[in-house]
Structures are given as structure tokens and as C-alpha cells.
Symmetry: C2
Subunit: 207 residues, 2 copies
């Protein structure tokens, strides 16, 4: 029994799609590539997901439901233990994604898929993400704003915008750091995350 046999057809498709979307984008990946990579039949995608657009949505849902919960729960913990502190809030956003990108089972590809989605101007995809996960960004924005009194509304809006871009793309790069299985890569990523938190906090404060 091979390693991949442990996963259902549906999970194999999701994993293959995630990997290929990260590498070639949504439009740049064909369902034939996906099924070939997943070693399933071409018809399987339509049987399990109905359409390519639905498959894209499910690739996000599979990870984002859990990731969003982890982020919000870490945010609440940070606000409880260190109220008014900026860095713990940023850590609450970054560290669950970092854990995902260090994970086996293709989690690292997903962080890059997220970065793709950020660049993507596709209306339907943006609406899907905004409708289902927009509340996470709003919670974090509110929490960060509360740490930064005395900054004008317009200025604050921009800093949050810049931060979102910086975090998204920086984390996508974390997913590219080669994981040779050693603990040193994990430590390397952790140092990168620390640097990112420091960078974003300084930028937000506008020191």
C-alpha cells in the first residue's frame, strides 16, 4: 500500500490542485494536470466537485476554515494575556500560517495559493473569500487599530493595507524555503517570522 493510497480520491485531488495552483495559478492549471498529478481519472473532478470553480473554492475552504479559527483563537488569547500589545496580535496572524507552511501534506503550497488569491482580481473568487473569511481580517484590523491611537483614519487604513500585502507575500516566501526535513529549516522559518513581526510592527507604528 503506497503512501498516497491512504487518502481518498477527493483529498488527493485537493492536494494536487493546491500544489499546481500554487505553481501555475488557477487559470494556468488544467483539470487534466490536476487529475494526472493526483493519479485519478479525468472525470473524478467533475464527479466530486462539479466544476473547476468549485474545486478552487474547496481548496480554500479545506485550509481556511481551520486557519481562520486558529488565527482568531490566537488573537483572543493575545488580547487576554497582553492587551494593547501590537506584536502578539501580528504573531497571532502569522504563526498559524507558519505552522501550516512547515507542515507536511502540502500545507506550504497553500500559503502560496493565498498569495495568488491576493493578486487575483477575479470577482467571484474575491467575493467568495470576502464573504466567508472577511471577518477575520476585520477582527485583526480592529485589534491593531486599538493598539495605535492617535493615527488618522486614512493613514491607518493605508498602513493596514501595506501590512496585509507585506504579510501575505512574505509568508508565501516562507512556503518556498526548502524543508530538508531538518530542524534547522524550522528554526530558520521561525527567525523569519520574528523578523516579519518586527518589520510589520515598526511599519504600523510608523516610527
Amino acid at each position: 500500500m503506497s503512501a498516497t493510497t491512504h487518502f481518498s480520491t477527493k483529498q488527493r485531488i485537493l492536494g494536487a490542485a493546491e500544489e499546481l495552483f500554487a505553481q501555475f495559478g488557477f487559470a494556468g492549471t488544467s483539470l487534466r494536470q490536476v487529475t494526472a498529478h493526483a493519479e485519478v481519472n479525468v472525470a473524478a473532478v467533475n464527479y466530486h466537485f462539479g466544476s473547476k470553480e468549485n474545486l478552487v473554492a474547496e481548496v480554500f475552504r479545506r485550509r481556511l476554515d481551520e486557519l481562520s479559527e486558529q488565527r482568531l483563537s490566537a488573537l483572543r488569547a493575545a488580547q487576554a494575556s497582553q492587551p494593547g500589545a501590537l506584536e502578539p496580535i501580528l504573531a497571532a496572524f502569522i504563526e498559524p500560517a507558519l505552522a501550516l507552511s512547515m507542515d507536511r501534506h502540502g500545507g506550504s503550497a497553500f500559503v502560496r495559493v493565498l498569495a495568488r488569491a491576493y493578486a487575483e482580481k477575479n470577482e467571484r473568487l474575491r467575493k467568495f473569500l470576502s464573504d466567508n473569511y472577511g471577518h477575520v481580517m476585520r477582527e485583526f484590523s480592529k485589534a491593531i487599530a486599538a493598539c495605535l491611537p492617535g493615527i488618522g483614519k486614512e493613514e491607518l487604513h493605508w498602513r493596514l493595507d501595506f501590512t496585509a500585502g507585506a504579510l501575505t507575500y512574505a509568508m508565501a516566501d516562507f512556503g518556498l524555503i526548502r524543508r530538508h526535513g531538518g530542524a534547522s529549516e524550522k528554526a530558520h522559518c521561525q527567525r523569519a517570522a520574528t523578523a516579519l513581526i518586527r518589520f510589520a510592527a515598526a511599519g504600523l507604528r510608523g516610527a
Copy 2:
């Protein structure tokens, strides 16, 4: 004689491609969409550019040759008049792109195309950009590093990386700010650029 008639077939194709690439991505845009949008014949792309890949490269070359020169020349001017100052270096990078995105003739779409390229992991495209324009980023990196003595090599590398991501995506958003033709949008963009410079400088210093 209509407004578009002033431009050659080649220029019309480049303009249409730029607009569509910004909106749908490279893989997500078909040559048929491009030629329809440019109001030229389907065969014109292959006649003038040989292939889709070549068209993509020319879309970059048309703007990036000039933009790179402007950036490097602004960098030299900044280093001459305010040596060791960080903000003028960042301004030298940002303001030529801002001017482009405020320009008529589709310059705003190009800034978003640049952001697309940043997310794109396509090897051939990355190599083309790195071979032809990589020296610009290296010049700026060197200049910024010189302003930040006493920061470790690894830490500095990350901060430059975060900055590149933040700048690229923030500038793409500038290109989305609606320009109703008034001067107020120009002022709005200028304030956004000032905020971006401040944000990046603070992040780089790690205050």
C-alpha cells in the same frame, strides 16, 4: 479619425494585452481577447510578436526600460543630494511608478501587471525579468543597505524582501484608485505614496 486610430496596431495590441493581463493574468488572458479588445485581427499578434510568450515579454519591456532608467536616475540624484538618507531612496523607487500609474495611456494597468509578475512563479518569466531588470533591485538593495549599518546580513535580507513585497502590492493598489480626472485623486495618490515611504522606512529600520 477615432482616438485609437492614432496608435499603430502593435501599440494597440500592447495596450490591450497590458490591460487584460492586469485583470485576468497571463494564463487567464487569451490572444483572442487581446485582439478583440485592440480591435485588430487575430493573426496580428503572431505577425507582430511571434508568440504569446513574446507578447508578454514586450508588455514588460515597453514600460520597464524607461521605468528602470527613471528609478536609477532618481536614485543617483537622491544619493548625490542626500547621501545616507533612507526615505529619498524609497521615493526614488516609488515615485516613477506612481507617475506611471497616474498617467493616461494605461500606465496604471502596468503597475498591476508588475504585481502579477511578482506572484507568478513561471520560470521563463522570472528569468527574463531577472536577466533584464535584476540590476535595478540590486542597486536599490545596496543603497538601502548602506543606510542601515549594524543590521545583520540575514535580518537585512529579510527586511529587503518584505519591503519589495509591500512596495509591489501597495503600488498595484494605487493603480486601482479611481482617477476621475480631477486633481484630488492625484493628491490622494501622493499622500498614499508618502504613507508608503514612511511605512517602508520604519519597517526597514525595525524601530
